[in-house]
Each structure stands twice: as C-alpha cells, then as structure tokens.
Amino acid sequence: MSEHIVPTKIYMGIFVALLLLTALTTGIAYVDLGAWNTVAALAIAVVKMLLVVLFFMHVKYSSGLTKVFILAGVLFFAILVTLTLADELTRHWSPTPSGWGALLPFSTPFY
C-alpha cells in the first residue's frame, strides 16, 4: 500500500456518493421494474463496494498484487455460487424414477 495521502475532499465526495446511492437503491425499490429491481439493487451495491474498495481501502493506489488477490477471492466466491446453483436449479430437469421399472427404457438419448 502506498504512502499516498488521499485529500479529505475526495473522502467527503465518496461519502456523499455512497449516501446518494443508498437513497437511490431504497427509492428504486418503490418503483415496479419487475425482475430488474434485483439487478438494479445489486448493480448499485457493486458500485458502492467499488467506491469503498478503491478509495476508502486505497486499492486505487495499491500494488497490482493486491488487486490480483481481490479478484481471485471474488472468482472463487463466484465458483462456489455457480456450481452449487448448477445442481440446485437443475434438479427437476430430469424425471425422478419411481421404482426399478422406470429405469428399463433407459434409452432416452442424452442431448
């Protein structure tokens, strides 16, 4: 992490931005966007996270190694979510056999 001293003005600016984004995400929840409500809420949360990470946590002024570490962590979290969802959401795609007889005509091709 560098010795870079961030000016107070920038910190205040980020603070105000974070408050505005909080108000935005709260306000959007009262508007009907269907499935996009969730997308909007997550997008705003990601922006807020980036502001905190880059400025309050000084990652904008940090070495590349720090950034690589953070990305690696996010990647592995994504792996956990994705592959587990791959099971949980596709459980009911294949029929549940009922009894041994159901297995006999197992000639259904797999495509």
Binding site: L65, A72, G73, F76, I79, L80, L83, T84, A86, D87, E88, T90, R91, W93, S94
Partner: protein
Amino acid sequence: MSTATLDVHEVPTGSRVNYLNAQYGVKSWLLTTDHKRIALLYLASITLMFFVGGFFAVLMRLHLIEPQGALVQPETYNKLFTMHGVIMVFFFLVPSIPATLGNFLVPMMIGARDLAFPRLNLLSWYIYIIGAIFTLYAVISGGVDTGWTFYTPYSSSFSHTSVIPTALGVFITGFSSILTGLNFVVTIHKMRAPGLTWFRLPLFIWAIYATSIIFILGTPVIAITLFLLGLERLLHIGIFDPAIGGDPILFQHLFWFYSHPAVYIMILPGMGVMSELITCFSRKRIFGYGFVAFSSLAIAFISFLVWGHHMFVTGQSIYAGLIFSVLSFMVAIPSAVKVFNWTATLYKGSISYDAPMLYALGFIGLFTMGGLTGLFLASLATDVHLNGTYFIVAHFHYIMVGGAVMAYLGGIHFWWPKITGRLYPDGWARFAALVIFVGFNLTFFPQFMLGYLGMPRRYAVYPAEFQVLNVMSSAGASILGIGYLIPLLYLTWSMRYGPTAGPNPWGAKGLEWQTPSPPPTENFEEIPVVTEEAYDYAHTTVTRG
C-alpha cells in the same frame, strides 16, 4: 568465503549455539516465535494425533476380522470410523507437512530469518491445540458417529453423540490452517532473498504456496458450514432442515467445497517434498521445472471445481454431475504431469537408495495407483457401482497413506539431520520403509477388490464371502502399524544417541543445506544472494558432508 555458503568445517560441532540450545526451559518453547521451534511443537502434536487416529484404525481392523464383527457394537464401530477420519484428516493430514516441514523450511529455503508474522505462527499452533482438545474431549465423552463428513440431517437432527464439540474442534483448528496459509503466502511474496526469483525457488515452495491458496480460500467455507450445522443442532431449526424448505444436500455442497480441495492440501506438499527428494537422490535437475511449478497452481485451482464428484449418487442433478465429472478428469492431468516429470528426472540419474528415496519411489507407484483409481470414480457410470464401497476407501488411502504419509516420512527423514543435527540409523530406516510399503499394500489392495465385489464402507458387519480379503487387510494393518512404530523409536533414539550430522549429509542443493545442522536461531549469518538455478546438480559438485 562467498556470501552464499558458510564454511562450517571450521566450527566445532556440538559446542555451537543453535536454535535448539539457544534458550532452555518450557517457557522458551511455549512462548517461542522461532519458526523452527514452532515446527517442532507441531511435530510433537501431530505425531500424537497420528497415533490416536491410528489407534482407532487398529480397533476397526481388529473388529473386521469376523463378518459379524469381532470387537465392538455397531454403534461403537460407527464412532470408530468417525473419530479415525476426523482426527486423521483435520488433525494429522491437513497440517502434517505444511505445519512441520513447511514451517521449518519455508524461511530457510527462501533465505529469510523467519516467516512474515512469527507471533501469528505461534498463535496458529495454540489454536490447533485448542481445537485438538475440544475434539479429544468429544472422543472421551462418548465419541461421534456421523462419519467425518457430518452429513445432515443425521448430524443436525438425529445423532445423539458429541457432534458439537467435535465440529467446534474442527472449526477452531481451521483457523490454525488459515493463519498458517496467510503467513506462507505473504512470506513467499515478500521475503525472498536477493536473486531468488520465482523460477529459482525450490518446487517445495511452489507446492506450499499452492497449498496455502487452498488453505485461505477453502477453509473458511467449512468453517461457516460447521457453524451452521452447530446452530441447527442447537436451535433445532436451520437452513438444512427440510421442514422449512432446507436441502440437506446443500450441506454436502458446502462441506465438499472445502473438503475436496482439502485432499489436495494433503497431497500437494507431499508432491513438493517429492521434487526435492527425487532430484537429490538422482543427482539431477528436475525435468520440466516450469511444468511442475505450474502444475501445483493448476491443481490448486482445478481442485475447487470438482467437489460434486463426492455427490454423484446423493440426488444431485445429473447435469451438475456431468460438469463435475468432466472437471474431475481434468484435475488428474496436472498430477500426471508431475509423475511423468519425476520419472523423467529419474531417467539416467545417479540413483541412491537411502531411506528418503525409498519413500519417494514408493510414492510414485502408490500415488499413481490411487490417482488412476480416482478416474474410475470420476466417471459417473462406474461411480454408481463403486460409491459407498471399499473401493473408495482403498482409493483415498492409496493417495493419503501411500502418497501423503510416505512423502511426509520421506521428508522427515531427509531433513531430520538438518532439524536435529543428528543422523538416524540408516539400516533401520530402510527396513522400516520396506515394512511400511509391504504392510500398506497388504492392507489396502484387498480393499480395492472388496469394493469392486460390493462390500459397503462404514458397515460394522459384512457377508461371510468377504472374510478372506478382510483378514488379509487386517493382517496388513498390523504390519503397517509396526512399520510406523519403528521410525518413532529410532528417530527418538537418534535425537539423543545418533551421530552428529554435518551441514549437508546428502549433498543436496538448496539454501537450507548451506547452514549448520541444526541451524542457528537466525538461520543465516548473512542473508544469502542467490545466483544459480534450482537443483543445479550438474554444474557444481556438492559432496555429502
């Protein structure tokens, strides 16, 4: 005198101050921040846990001599295999090489005086001990019978055994792993000696680095999983509870997300030791350094993508099963790369058959068998037949015991002179290695056959037609047990009565061999400057001394 070597022949051995005699007294050990002393604290602790876990294994094999069980009630048998698994996995295999050889060697191999965070290192050990105490308490207070995998809903709702103390013990010890991994990663990034670029590092360091990545990213997930399990057991409601829509299989996903990479935690450091042993005892550079280095990273990464292969028959979606099956085949590739490269290193090498090399050669064969049988299990169709049988038990014991434990013993023997300043009796060491090899195969090869023939695992009784193979396996286990006791005896003996060792009894390359045996507390008088590549056996004649 160059800065990279220390002319130790001028120093009278035995009268020199080293890390072992620099300070005396219990407090100097229990409050040490010297990575070498901490490594020995771990060595003592995990050796104890190994024999506790081994004791449960002995009881199991005695019980299985007869089809209806020879020793204990089925409920007790369930506790035996659970405690054997919990202790061996979490309290022996996971910390084994990293906490002992890793702690001792990482700073020395990179030319540093200690790890990045020495006090955190000591804290790691204390956390391990506290976790071990909780688990041993669970053993004494009646044991656990859920299997080391703690599957819900049995563990969360139905078992009447000491689940929470055991889970708490494992949870706490997990933090020991996390802190150790954190320490290694920062140390390797930030504290390498001048001239020691990444591609001049010993491959042991690459292996420890890859292992540390798994420590850091995987262990927290089992921590939260066991935490959730404990909460559900306490509150009688939770996220795995079908009554409120919970999915017990979710527990398995979360559990195996760590526990599969965990098995690579157990083998990767062993592979690192292998690279050191094979090169030294063939007196050759490693074949394909880059490939071996990157294969460690590849194993660490891909290991996080395959956990569902433990769940092919639990009700997991077939589509997820397909994905996990393909990925599981892929994870075998970097391991195979390593085996090819070690073998190529042996080719036209000048081979010597000291005890560490015997362990290394045994590793190549036994790990390969374990790895190949893993492919049977990665394939969905064959796994349906083999899952839940002794085939799986044999598969993972070939890798964990035939692989990891043998690499651990090989490493302990290899670096023993450096750690203790003593030589162990060579004849006994080679004899013990052979006894272990024979005992191991006699114990576990019959189990492949038993599994293929359909004998289920975790059963206290079995059909009479399986008795012959079971008796063979139990006979092998008794030989194996004796085989493990022999090094315990002569290594302990050597600490007091063994001949003193010079700085480099094997004539090996590596910064750790350029210090006296045992090393001084600060490791190096001057921090070395590295100018040559790793394993440069061809270009300099290093004699045994």
